[in-house]
Amino acid sequence: MRALKYLLRKEFLQIFRDPALVRMLFVIPVVQLLVLSNAATFEVKVARLYVVDQDRTTLSRGVIDRLVASGRFVRGGGSASVALGDDALMRRDVDLMVVLPAGLERDVVRERRGHVQVQLNAEDGAAAGVTLGYLREILARHAADLTVELAPATALAASRAERPPVRGQPAVEVRRRGWYNAELDYRHYMVPGILVQLLTIVGTLLTAMNIVREKEAGTLDQLNVTPVTRPVFIAAKLLPLWIIALVVLGVGLAVGRLAFGVPIEGSILLIYLGAAIYLVAALGIGLWVSAVTETQQQAMFVNFSVLMIYLLMSGLFTPVSAMPEWAQWIARANPMMHFISLMRGVMLRGAGLADVARELAVLTVSSALVLTVAVRQYHKTAE
C-alpha cells in the first residue's frame, strides 16, 4: 500500500497547491449556503394591487381598506378603467387587479351577495395561487363582519321579524397546526437540502475533472504504465475528495447552526454515516463521467447535465409527489433524494437509526452500484 500512500500525497498536494481551488472549495459553498437558503420560498409577502373601483361607496372602499390593512397587499395604483389596470399588469407594475363593479354595495345590502373580480398576473404561477388564497381568506372574513354589521338593519327591513338577530353562521373554528416546523421556517427545511447539493457539486465535479485532466495532459498514460493497480489508483483519486467533502459538510453544518439556527435533533454520527455512504455514489458518478469523456470540456458539460437532473429531480425545490408517475421513479432512483430525506429526518425530526434504515439501505445499494459501473467503465489501457 506504499503506492497508495504516495499517490494520496500527490493528490492532496495537487489540490492544495491551487489556492484558487481551495478558496472555492470552502468559501463558495458557505456563501451559497448563506445566500441560497434564503431564496427557496413561494411565500409572497406583499402583493401590489391595482384598484378599479367602479362602485365608489363606503362598502367598496371598505373592501380595499381591509385588503391593505391585512399587510399582504399594497396599493400600486388605481383608476376607474380596466384597460389601464390591464396595462399595469402587462408592465409588471402590479401583481393583481381588483375590480369592484358598480352596484356592489347595493347587491350586498339587497341580495347579500356581491361579486368582486380579481385578475392576477400568473406569470409566476405559484405566487399567484398563494396571493389568491390570501385574498379569498381576507374577503371571507370581511364578509363575515359585514353579516354582523348589516344584520340589525336587515332584521328591521324584514318587517321586524320576531327572532333574535343572527344566530348567524354555525360556529366552526378551525385550528391549524404545522408539525415538525411550527413556524414554517423554510430555511430550516432548505439548509439540509442545499448542503447536500453543494457536497454533490463539489464531489462529483472535482472527481470528474481530476481524472480527465490527467487524460488531457497525458499523465494518465504515464500512470497506466506504472505497476499501480486499478483499485489503488481509483482509491487514490477518490479518497482525498471524499475527505474534503466530509470536511465541507462539517463546515456547512456549523454555518447552518450558527447563521440560521437549524437544529440537529438527531445524532451527528448518523449524518456522517449517511454522508460517507452517499459520497461514494456522488464521487462514483464523477468517476463514471471521467471515464466516458475525453476532454475537460465534455466532462464538464456531461457533469452539468447530470447535476441538473440531480438538482431538479430530487424533490428539493419542487415536490416529487406532483411529478408524473414515471418521473417519480426517476426521482426515487436519485440517491440525492434519499440522502436529503435522511438529512432532514435526522436534523429536523430527530430520526434515529431505525427511522432512516431504509434510506441508508438505498444509499448503500446505489453507492455499490454506481461504484461498480464506474470502475468497470474505467480501463487502465489506452485506447
Binding site: 445566500v35 441560497l36 427557496a40 373580480q117 392576477l120 406569470e123 344566530r167 397546526r177 465535479l205
Partner: protein, 382 residues
C-alpha cells in the same frame, strides 16, 4: 484594423475555431442534444403544484357530519384518505414515517353540536417539514373546510326561514392572466432556456479559453498579429451560433411537445436570446481571464451560474418572495431579466414597448462585462 491583413486574419481565426468545434463530433452532439433532452425531461417532470395529498382523518365517533366532511375532501380531487384513526395519538407514528401529509381532527358529536348551534372546533395538522408544500396543502384543506362552512351557513339560513338575516357572501371571480391553468411547463420552459443558454455560453467559453491558457497555446495566439478582442471574438463566435441553435430547438420542443403558447414576436425573442447569450459569453471570458486552470474556471462558472440561475432568477421561486437583500442581488443576475423577457413574449404577447427596460439592463450588463473581460485579458499579453 486598417492593415488589410487584420480582417483576413480574424476571418481565418474564426473559421479555425469553428472547424475546431465542428470536427469534435462527440462534443457537438452532446452540446446540441443534451439541452434538448433536458427541456423535454424537465418540462414533463417538474410541477410546482401539489396534487396528491394524503389525508388522515381522526374521528373518535363517526356521524353524518364527519362523513359529509370526509366525502368533501375525497370529492375534491386533490385529497386521498390514507388512514382513519379514532384518536390523534395514532397520528404521530403515521406522520413520523411520512405516511400522511395532512390530518383532519374532528371532535366527538360533530353532527349534534352543529345542529344545536354549539361551537365546534376542528383541527388541521399539516406535515410542515416542507414549508412550501405545507403552506399549499394547508390552503387547499382550508378551502374545503371554508366551502363546507359556507354551505352549513346557507343551510342554517334556509332552515331559519325567510326574513332571517342571511350571511353576506363576497364572491371572488378570479382570472389567472397569461397562464390560466397555472401550467408549470409554461413557466418552466423560459427558465430552462435561460439555464441552457448560460451553460452553453458562459461555461463553454470559460472552459475553452482556459484550456488554451493551460496548454500555453494562448501565448502563441497572443504573439500573433491578432488583437486581444479579436481573439475573444474568434473564440466566442462559434458558441454564439451553438447557443442560437439551442434556443431554436428548445423553442420548437416547447411548442411541439408542450404546446406552450407563443403570443409575441419571434424576432424579438431571438434577438433577446442573442443578447442574453452575449452576456453569458462575456461572463465566460471574464471568468477564464480571472482563473488559472480549467478546473478553477469551471468551478467558478458553475457556482456563479448554476445555482443562482436556478434559485435567484424567478425560474422556480418568485422574485417577490425573496428577502429584500436577495431581491437586490437578483438584479445582477442576467437570467432574472431574461426570464421576464421570455415569459413576457411567450405568455403575454408583450412587445418592445413593455420590455425595453429589461433589454436595456441586459445591454448594460453586456457592456460592463465586456469591458471588464477585455481589461482582465490584456495584462496577459505580457
Amino acid at each position: 484594423m486598417r492593415a488589410p491583413g487584420r480582417v483576413e486574419a480574424l476571418r481565418a481565426f474564426v473559421l479555425k475555431e469553428m472547424r475546431h468545434i465542428l470536427r469534435d463530433r462527440q462534443t457537438l452532439t452532446i452540446l446540441l442534444l443534451l439541452p434538448l433532452a433536458q427541456v423535454v425531461l424537465f418540462g414533463f417532470a417538474i410541477r410546482t403544484d401539489v396534487n396528491d395529498i394524503r389525508l388522515a382523518v381522526v374521528t373518535p365517533a363517526p356521524d353524518d357530519a364527519t362523513r359529509a366532511l370526509r366525502a368533501r375532501f375525497e370529492g375534491n380531487g386533490r385529497f386521498r384518505v390514507v388512514a382513519e384513526a379514532p384518536s390523534a395519538e395514532a397520528l404521530e407514528p403515521v406522520f413520523r414515517r411520512g405516511g400522511a401529509d395532512v390530518a383532519l381532527v374532528l371532535p366527538r358529536g360533530l353532527a349534534s353540536d352543529l345542529a344545536a348551534g354549539v361551537p365546534v372546533q376542528l383541527q388541521l395538522i399539516t406535515d410542515a417539514s416542507n414549508p412550501n408544500t405545507g403552506t399549499t396543502m394547508q390552503a387547499y384543506a382550508d378551502a374545503v373546510v371554508t366551502a363546507w362552512r359556507a354551505d352549513l351557513a346557507a343551510d342554517a339560513a334556509r332552515a331559519a326561514g325567510p326574513g332571517a338575516p342571511r350571511p353576506v357572501t363576497l364572491a371572488v371571480d378570479a382570472r389567472m392572466r397569461f397562464n390560466p391553468t397555472l401550467e408549470s411547463v409554461n413557466l418552466f420552459v423560459p427558465g430552462l432556456i435561460a439555464l441552457v443558454l448560460t451553460l452553453v455560453s458562459a461555461l463553454m467559453t470559460a472552459i475553452s479559453l482556459s484550456r488554451e491558457k493551460e496548454r500555453g497555446t494562448l501565448e502563441i495566439l497572443l504573439v500573433s498579429p491578432l488583437r486581444p478582442w479579436q481573439i475573444i471574438l474568434g473564440k466566442v463566435a462559434p458558441y454564439l451560433l451553438l447557443a442560437f441553435a439551442n434556443v431554436v430547438t428548445a423553442l420548437v420542443a416547447a411548442w411541439a411537445v408542450f404546446a406552450v403558447p407563443f403570443r409575441g414576436s419571434l424576432v424579438l425573442l431571438l434577438a433577446a436570446s442573442t443578447l442574453y447569450s452575449l452576456v453569458g459569453l462575456a461572463l465566460g471570458v471574464l471568468l477564464a481571464a480571472l482563473t488559472t486552470s480549467q478546473r478553477a474556471a469551471m468551478m467558478a462558472a458553475m457556482l456563479v451560474t448554476m445555482l443562482p440561475t436556478t434559485l435567484l432568477s424567478g425560474m422556480i421561486f418568485p422574485i417577490a418572495s425573496l428577502p429584500l437583500p436577495l431581491q437586490l442581488v437578483s438584479n445582477v443576475i442576467p437570467g432574472r431579466w431574461f426570464i421576464v423577457i421570455v415569459r413576457g413574449i411567450m405568455l403575454k404577447g408583450a412587445g418592445l414597448a413593455h420590455l425595453w427596460q429589461e433589454l436595456a439592463v441586459l445591454g448594460v450588463m453586456l457592456v460592463v462585462l465586456l469591458a471588464a473581460a477585455i481589461r482582465a485579458f490584456k495584462p496577459r499579453l505580457a
